[in-house]
């Protein structure tokens, strides 16, 4: 590989590291965007089947060209900037929504060593960059200068920060076990232990000892991405589309892309932190990216399943769940794991 790239590298000279990095970034973003596009298709299809409908089936065979048609349609729609808005911020809102949901992928490991930026503080970086996602919502809602976006923004911001706490404490538990903020290292630690030696790798992953945290993280992930049943932000029946009401065409498409990219991000992080990342569940099968892909798809399926199954939460229930249930549970589990590690029964030495 290196030898093959040598002539191309010499062509670019000193700019080669930047060009090579850009190539890798494109290799991450392009499949991600395809995954995002087809997630919208599968969402409609799967929810359709769950409700005994067929879902989209007109555009192309089995409706497979539907996401592309949607994309083209959005591209051809007028980009409106309503007169009451703050113009600059109105355009900045969707840009700040999509940028962090893409930038977070820089530290995600896809297989052993298959990571763009192998930084030591990977998990911390993820925490920081996901905390920026709230800006897209706040700026969009305020810049719109209209009532529905404003109400939607307040709800969304309060909800996102509340669940960020639960996620943060859940990640502390993972961190105590792995003793490293590096995401690849977190996966490697999950591949060690008695069960892994017996060839039953899936029992040594974090989901088992940290089961309450796994559940908290998954539910907080749904709340953090403002998906059903936590989607009061865009509850169609009361505040239309929340902070996105005034957006049209490509500016709206960016919010949409950001939301689905975030779903993939939360799912792949759940797989990495709790479900052993690229590790094979059983000893006799080889590890690899395909396992991560399968696990991530399963978690995404959970998102869709939750949307098809549960009615929307009432807003005060959402806040209560975040502050009065998840926060104490996660704090308590930090204590449990700390005592566990200190005790002679520790399974992580």
């Amino acid at each position: 590989m290196e030898a093959l790239l040598e002539p191309i590298a010499s062509l670019f000279g000193a700019a080669w590291p930047a060009v090579w990095t850009l190539a890798k970034i494109v290799a991450i973003i392009a499949p991600l965007m395809i995954a995002v596009a087809y997630l919208t298709y599968f969402e409609r299809k799967i929810i359709g089947y769950m409700q005994v409908r067929i879902g989209p089936n007109r555009v192309g065979p089995l409706g497979l060209l539907q996401p592309i048609a949607d994309g083209v349609k959005l591209l051809l729609k007028e980009v409106l900037v309503p007169s009451a808005t703050s113009k600059g911020l109105f355009i900045l809102g969707p840009i700040l929504a999509i940028a962090p949901s893409l930038a977070a992928w820089a530290v995600v490991p896809f297989w052993d060593g298959g990571v763009l930026a192998d930084v030591d503080a990977g998990l911390l970086f993820i925490l920081a960059i996901t905390s920026l996602e709230v800006y897209g919502v706040i700026i969009a809602g305020w810049a719109s200068n209209s009532k529905y976006p404003f109400l939607g923004t307040m709800r969304a911001a309060a909800q996102m920060v509340s669940y960020e706490l639960a996620m943060g404490f859940a990640l502390i538990c993972v961190l105590m076990i792995s003793a490293s903020l590096n995401l690849s290292e977190i996966v490697r630690v999950q591949g060690q232990g008695q069960f892994a030696d017996m060839g039953l790798g899936f029992l040594s992953w974090n989901w088992l000892p940290l089961f309450p945290m796994f559940v908290v993280y998954l539910i907080s992930g749904i709340a953090e991405t403002n998906r059903a049943p936590f989607d009061v932000v865009e509850g169609e029946s009361e505040i239309v589309a929340g902070h996105m009401v005034e957006y049209s065409g490509m500016t709206f498409a960016l919010f949409f892309l950001a939301e689905y990219a975030n779903m993939w991000l939360v799912s792949i992080l759940t797989s990495i932190l709790f479900l052993g990342g690229w590790l094979s569940p059983v000893g006799f099968l080889p590890d690899g990216f395909h396992w991560l892909a399968i696990k991530t798809s399963m978690v995404v399926l959970m998102f869709l399943w939750a949307r098809a199954t549960f009615p929307r939460f009432r807003y005060d229930h959402i806040m209560r769940l975040g502050w009065k249930v998840f926060l104490p549970v996660t704090l308590f589990w930090v204590l449990v794991v700390a005592v566990w590690i200190m005790s002679p029964l520790s399974i992580w030495n």
Binding site: T21, L22, K24, I25, I29, L74, L75, K77, E78, V79, L80, A84, P94, I95, L96, I98, P100, L102, A103, W105, A106, V107, L116, A117, V119, D120, L127, S131, S144, N145, S146, K147, Y148, P149, M154, A158, S162, L165, G168, I172, L175, A179, S180, L181, V245, G249, M250, L254, Y315, M319, R320, W323, L327, P328, L331, V334, L335, A338, I341, N349
Partner: protein
């Protein structure tokens, strides 16, 4: 260490560019025929009669402050969590390293319980 962050920097820039590009494309390709009706804020069929930016319930500010405090707590827990296994392995530090964090957390849990009892976490 720094060379590891170079791709992150590039990725952030690419992310921003990825946000700008579709808007520019939409502006170039899509029609652009604004009129005053189209550009008015979304309402239920009437003209909006006041500025949408209104005063808000103070509860949201309280929530944001509590969020900052707990976020800081997480920031303090992070380095401790990374060295916890190391602490557990060192005989001299064992109980010390363990209890100092629980004094820290204990003080904040007292605050948390107080806030709860005060009803600041209720959403009415």
């Amino acid at each position: 260490m720094l060379e590891n962050y170079f791709p992150v920097l590039v990725f952030i820039l690419v992310g921003l560019a990825f946000g700008v590009a579709p808007i520019v494309m939409g502006r170039l390709i899509a029609p652009h025929r604004p009129d005053s009706e189209k550009l008015s804020p979304f309402e239920c069929g009437f003209e909006p009669f006041e500025d949408a930016r209104m005063k808000f319930d103070v509860r949201y500010y309280l929530l944001a402050i509590l969020f900052i405090i707990f976020d800081l707590e997480i920031a303090f827990l992070l380095p401790w969590a990374t060295i916890l296994r190391e602490i557990a392995g060192t005989e001299s530090l064992r109980l010390f390293g363990f209890f100092e964090m629980f004094v820290f957390l204990g003080i904040l849990v007292i605050g948390y319980i107080w806030v709860w009892k005060k009803g600041a976490l209720d959403w009415e």
